[in-house]
Symmetry: C2
Subunit: 271 residues, 2 copies
Amino acid sequence: MTGASRATPGPVVLIGGATKPRGDALGAFVSLAHGRDGACVVVITAASGDPAGSARDWHRDLTLAGCSDVDAPVIASRADSMDASIAARVASADAIFLGGGDQVKLVSIVGGTPVGAAIHAAHVRGLVVGGTSAGAAALAKTTLAGNEVDGAGELVEQYIGPGLGLVAHPTIIDTHFSERRRLYRLFVALAEFPTLLGLGIDEDTAMVIDGDEGRVVGAGGVTFVDARDVRYSNAGSGRGEPLTLSAVRVGVIGSGYGFDFAARDLIIPSD
Amino acid sequence: MTGASRATPGPVVLIGGATKPRGDALGAFVSLAHGRDGACVVVITAASGDPAGSARDWHRDLTLAGCSDVDAPVIASRADSMDASIAARVASADAIFLGGGDQVKLVSIVGGTPVGAAIHAAHVRGLVVGGTSAGAAALAKTTLAGNEVDGAGELVEQYIGPGLGLVAHPTIIDTHFSERRRLYRLFVALAEFPTLLGLGIDEDTAMVIDGDEGRVVGAGGVTFVDARDVRYSNAGSGRGEPLTLSAVRVGVIGSGYGFDFAARDLIIPSD
């Protein structure tokens, strides 16, 4: 817990899924975790449909990524998340990473438990917390899921609910973004909640947030959607019409570029 | 040619492909064509890989849609497009419709020919000209194609070139828009040409343009992208980076809603 003396909350690393163990996106998390000697990374795989198998996979991948000390407790239920010995392992972490799966499952298992509290406390102490796919989506204050066709071709109902809330700015995080072409889904969610900032993160790509500043690292980019200036939308009209929306601001932040969360705008390079 | 006395150019009906013969999108074209007694609709299928087969299909579909007089000359080559007797058939039309296929092929076959001139003249005389899919894309001053994966999984190079130019406002028209999730492709094109307005039309949906005003009719919606306010993009940097773009305005116009082409904004309903 060498980060304990830091006064400000730690960085948050949001990855859009499909991480490569030696890719730059996961590397951004690992390098922030390794500013500390002998850092222990705790991986939480509660989002996964197979938490034990996912824990083994992440132990391997984070070791490949250069972590010398990886602890992957199996958290498969809310009971596990309330277990004092598991919470103590999370509380002793120098960095925490949340694996993928189902963000609603993740929040429902760890939200409000000792494990959830240990994740929050680590962030407040200045440690890095990262997540990929569902693990990234769950780190916002508000979590989006559904409103798209599942593997069986069925339309899953939209779910918008509370997230773990480590991202300070009011944000909805979407992942696998270009790959699953989810921008329209994000428009629909933001038409209902126009004060939130939408962030769509591509696969194997990280948005590293530190205070008001974000930077993008990895294979793809991050799309942002700012709906504050919408003058008209038919969301909530109750007429069941398809979306009509006057105009949102949409930008794309490529790898190597920065984002100003206060201004909700690309940081324009000075060169 | 009962529209000859009209002083202003005729309406343009842009359909996003996959028209249903009795759908509202094609119906919007037909009703504008039928303001005239015994109107003759000429269909041009030069965009198709099978112009003769497509001509037969459109003859059937437009008849089903309620047209009593459909003429579908087979225009399969630039020679056909320069044929005086074919041009005369187009020139005698009361309404003209351009079928789908490949917009680059369509423009290369009819652009600058007597058939192309007859289409322009009909529009200037106040007659309705419509098109679907490639036939809609070709009606803008600038035509976009490519920069997406084809049926064989190969990435086709982006093509941006001149269109037939019946849409007065500087516009790029994309079709099959939600269905093929083409917004990112439109962003890439507009990062290069930010003065153009991007219009993405869904399948079986029409954008009916009359002067500065558009209205959307049909099964889906129309997405608009206004890139004039982009303060930074890496398009044309020559660094071969993925897209970075500070912010564009994006809105969605549902069926029944209108669009102000001068303001580039949704017409907000007064109710």
